[in-house]
Symmetry: C2
DNA sequence: CTGAAAGCGCTTACAG
DNA sequence: CTGAAAGCGCTTACAG
């Protein structure tokens, strides 16, 4: 193989290549092509030549070189648990919001997956090695102590942390109120025996939802019955199992009028378990979820749920993050805008009807847009 | 503020810092900490000191600097349309497979979202600027011409491309066989009048499924009746409209025994249209889908469908990609392992029963785990 | 076994 | 208005 024909991998054009092609130095090219500020210093005619040369060579500034010089990768990290046999629509919606806002601000988004927060939180620091400028934690389950070990150079924003994390901007929702309003709504439809399929104990979200459930019952003068509170985790499978288990243990006893589930995923699992034994929703039993993920609209019947503005929260996480990053180099930049606690909304759909005992003609429910 | 107290942003430790702390040069530190090959050259005692210093300083090699020197970012790009109802579960499963394999190979995954392939495919080149080492396209819908414009420096792998893309490794499934087997299965249940609600014309997936449908009928000596093939796109809404339209146009005529839909979304739309006119699935008419998305298990009855090994395909995409990247610098590396066409599986659930005319006692269908 | 040098491709002062 | 220089933090030959 001769030297001139050597089959070395093609390389992308660099600033020097562009400069050479345009008969100027690399930094003149830099000023025109990348430098926002200094670009005006270059003569209009030189400018033209440089831009032309860049187009011809398909010049694209090398991200790694840029990052090294600027100490900014223009990339946001996103750490989450996204697996579990069941698909995780919660994640998808938050994710959409983050990607959307990141793209709007011309940031890339790099996704890091954990199998389990407790076990894998220790891996977070290793990802803060210059490949991202900040890290958004989605539904992290970690102790405040662990959070203190996060590298100081990297800003962190958490959405739905299980506890308020130190050194981290926490973004959350008013889950207790969401649960409260859902249960009040069920009561208003005539339900009194309301089963709650709960989330993992110790998770802030699960506890807030449980608190809302209890408070709503109490305020409606319905006694909280602990046999109507069954544990699950946030997965569809656990919801299915929890519902199956309850049905088995309470065979022959009266059904609950309604089931309020800690999440849509759990609610869908419940609906599967109910379908297995031939129970129709909402004719025989009503089911409600929480989150208003995409899946809530794909079930038949569609799921009554509590909407969290997941997308907007993802958006906000990015904006807060960008703000933190800016402040690293420029302390005069003002702090993130409040509120970081987002309100929630009840979304009535077809999975909740009147209880069988008090069946009556009800207007057909329709999806709220 | 005195100079010594200047509040400049903390910086992560560099190799020089580590070298200084250990009393050696930066490249000695580099050899020990990052260089796999040269590391043996360093005296064991020096080694120790360096490792200790690195630990104390929490040294982490800067990814951007490394990428610049190595021309490898250790990051894979992933381009997909992830919004819009139907596609999401599909995407999530592929995504999981990709993230899983990428993490196993210590690659980051950066996600790029498109609103629409035709419009946004032109943005792909701008992302190939050194921030990723290769790009995986998920369900791209682009012309072969557009694919030719993709930068030559970056390897591309596509999962479920709408047409075989040039300069791209294409990973697909045997959709024709999936459709074939589904229709054979319907025939085996006693169905002969089988309606096919098809997908967008020109999409490879839709055409393959249609071909499988026709081939199965022919092989069962059932004449293909073009009035039993109706067009839709891949959305639930189009399925609902297609089914409604057919029912209206063919009022008074005999119903099909079964409906084979091009996707689960379309099948769900069909089920809604059938429910509207009081037809029960599967008692009056059977319905089958394709994809085995989350939604397939949430309908009542659960949907008989065809499963594609999306997760495994995501895995394979990463492995093929890594192989391509290696071959860029080392041409002696062997080519990707076949096969790149994945088999599919029939998933029988409750939405398919016997046709009304040949109704007989059938064992109760249950969900396949 | 260890260090000084050059380079990856960019940017940011600093000279002319 | 434009260019030569130094540096971002690493790696890879090349000397000692």
């Amino acid at each position: 193989m001769t030297s001139s024909k050597k089959h070395k991998p093609f390389r992308a054009a660099t600033l020097s290549d562009v400069g050479r092609a345009a008969g100027v130095s690399a930094m003149a090219a830099s000023a025109v092509l990348n430098g926002a500020r200094t670009s005006s210093r270059i003569a209009a005619e030189t400018r033209e030549r440089i831009i032309e040369a860049a187009a011809k060579l398909q010049y694209r500034p090398n991200a790694a070189a840029r990052a090294l010089a600027n100490r900014r990768m223009q990339t946001l990290g996103l750490a989450a648990v996204i697996e579990g046999g069941e698909l995780n629509p919660y994640f998808l919606e938050v994710f959409n919001g983050i990607l959307e806002a990141a793209a709007r601000h011309e940031q890339s988004t790099t996704v890091f997956t954990l199998h389990d927060w407790r076990r894998d939180a220790s891996r977070l620091p290793s990802w803060c090695d210059g490949r991202i400028d900040g890290m958004i934690l989605v539904a992290p389950t970690m102790t405040a102590e662990t959070a203190k070990l996060l590298p100081i150079h990297t800003p962190f924003v958490a959405i739905h942390a299980n506890v308020a994390l130190p050194n981290v901007v926490n973004i959350e929702t008013d889950e207790e109120r969401g649960a409260y309003e859902m249960v009040r709504y069920l009561v208003a439809q005539g339900h009194r025996r309301i089963l709650h399929v709960s989330g993992d104990e110790g998770l802030l979200g699960a506890e807030r939802r449980l608190r809302g459930y209890k408070r709503a019952l109490t305020s409606a003068h319905i006694k909280v019955d602990s046999s109507l509170i069954i544990p699950a985790s946030f997965s569809g499978e656990s919801g299915r199992n929890a519902m199956r288990g309850w049905l088995k243990r309470h065979a022959g006893e009266p059904l609950p009028h309604a089931v309020f589930c800690v999440s849509d995923g759990v609610a869908i699992g419940c609906m599967e378990a109910l379908a297995e034994v031939g129970l129709r929703v909402p004719d025989d039993i009503s089911v409600a979820g929480f989150d208003d993920t995409l899946a809530a609209r794909t079930t038949v019947p569609q799921l009554t749920t509590v909407r969290q503005p997941l997308r907007a929260m993802g958006n906000r996480a990015v904006e807060v993050m960008l703000n933190c990053i800016q402040r690293q180099s420029d302390q005069s930049v003002p702090s993130p805008l409040t509120p970081l606690v987002f309100p929630v909304d009840l979304v009535p759909r077809a999975s909740v009807g009147a209880p069988p005992a008090v069946k009556r003609i009800v207007p057909s429910h329709r999806a709220v847009p």
